[in-house]
């Protein structure tokens, strides 16, 4: 680390898991999450000289979000490349009276992945990346009030999707 600025390797080693976690919740599957992390790390490498010591994870969350949104825009231009369903997803064969926590987690993940991007991104930044509304507003270049309403609408959509699921109250 030089003058409070970590090296690229330090960022990858010490904050890679955070980066991957955010990428996975944004993308909804491991293949795309890996692509997002790789591209994000390339941008980190190029941008480290301009990094001003502060919230490193906030900076990383912003980068991986931008990579994700760039990818969403690219895929919209080429619909054949739309984000696929999670190939790792294992759906329960039938509803179980005692839904395991892993099944519930998968259902939450599925509901999250099904959210429209404009709601999923702020929810992930808030609840996975632990970013403040102000940080989210800066990352997405939207007003604070819009952040608040999108997070709220995203959570309501999640609630609607999960209300009837076993194990979810």
């Amino acid at each position: 680390m030089v003058d409070g600025i970590p090296t690229w390797e330090e960022v990858a080693r010490e904050h890679g898991s955070f980066l991957y976690r955010v990428a996975y919740r944004l993308a909804g599957n491991h293949d795309d999450a890996q692509d997002l992390v790789q591209e994000a790390l390339l941008r980190v490498r190029k941008g480290l000289e301009r990094y001003e010591p502060g919230s490193l994870e906030g900076w990383l969350a912003r980068i991986v979000t931008n990579v994700f949104l760039d990818d969403v825009r690219r895929r919209k231009r080429r619909p054949a490349d739309a984000f696929p369903d999670d190939p790792d997803r294992v759906l329960p064969e039938s509803p179980s009276a005692e839904a395991s926590s892993s099944e519930l987690s998968q259902e939450v993940q599925d509901a999250l992945a099904a959210l429209p991007t404009e709601f999923r991104v702020p929810v992930v930044l808030c609840d996975v990346a632990d970013q403040s509304y102000e940080q989210i507003a800066a990352a997405l270049d939207i007003p604070l009030g819009t952040v608040r309403s999108r997070i709220h609408r995203g959570r309501r959509l999640l609630r609607d999707a999960l209300t009837d699921r076993e194990g979810f109250e």
Binding site: E9, A12, R13, G16, S17, Y20, R21, Y24, R25, H30, D31, A33, Q34, D35, V37, Q38, E39, L41, L42, R45, S102, L104, S105, V108, Q109, L112, V123, C126, D127, V128, S132, Y133, E134, L144, G145, R148, S149, I151, H152, R153, R155, R156, L158, R159, L162, F168, E169
Partner: protein, 154 residues
């Protein structure tokens, strides 16, 4: 978030999420507390939102598949996104650049103009010399025009 930005009377349910996230200042929070105290519907909504938020926040920590970080952290082994997406092929950008340079070198060998190989027209040269020599009555070199050089194609 500024509590003075929105008066208590202008609060909508979206403030409930901000309330949960600790994003309201003291004034807005007090106003929302008062609203919650008088509204069972808002309390129910708040409880539902809290459940959803907690469910997302308690999602298990996921990490990349085995080997991913080893590849990413390998020296100079920053993966080309497009290449990776096409076929999950890990390609170093530096290696790709080296490959491009090698390709350019090959192209250079193939396409860089080279001078034509010198193919002296020996027969013409000797003939010309013979003609010049004959003008000078050089008996010996005057015979050169009749010579066919062995092993050299005209």
């Amino acid at each position: 978030m500024s509590g003075t930005e929105f008066g208590a009377g202008e609060m909508d349910e979206s403030f409930l999420s901000a309330y949960l996230d600790g994003e309201l200042d003291a004034v807005a929070r007090a106003a929302l507390d008062a609203r919650l105290a008088e509204s069972p519907d808002w309390r129910a909504e708040l409880a539902a939102l809290r459940t959803v938020r907690d469910a997302v926040r308690s999602l298990p920590l996921v990490d990349a598949p085995p080997g991913f970080w080893d590849r990413v952290l390998a020296p100079e082994d920053v993966v080309d996104l497009a290449a990776a997406r096409r076929g999950r092929v890990w390609v170093s950008r530096w290696r790709a650049l080296a490959g491009a340079a090698a390709a350019a070198a090959v192209m250079g060998v193939v396409f860089v103009p080279r001078p034509e190989p010198v193919q002296p027209a020996f027969a013409k040269i000797t003939q010309s010399h013979a003609e010049r020599a004959s003008l000078g009555n050089d008996v010996v070199t005057n015979l050169a025009g009749a010579v066919v050089p062995v092993g050299i194609e005209p």
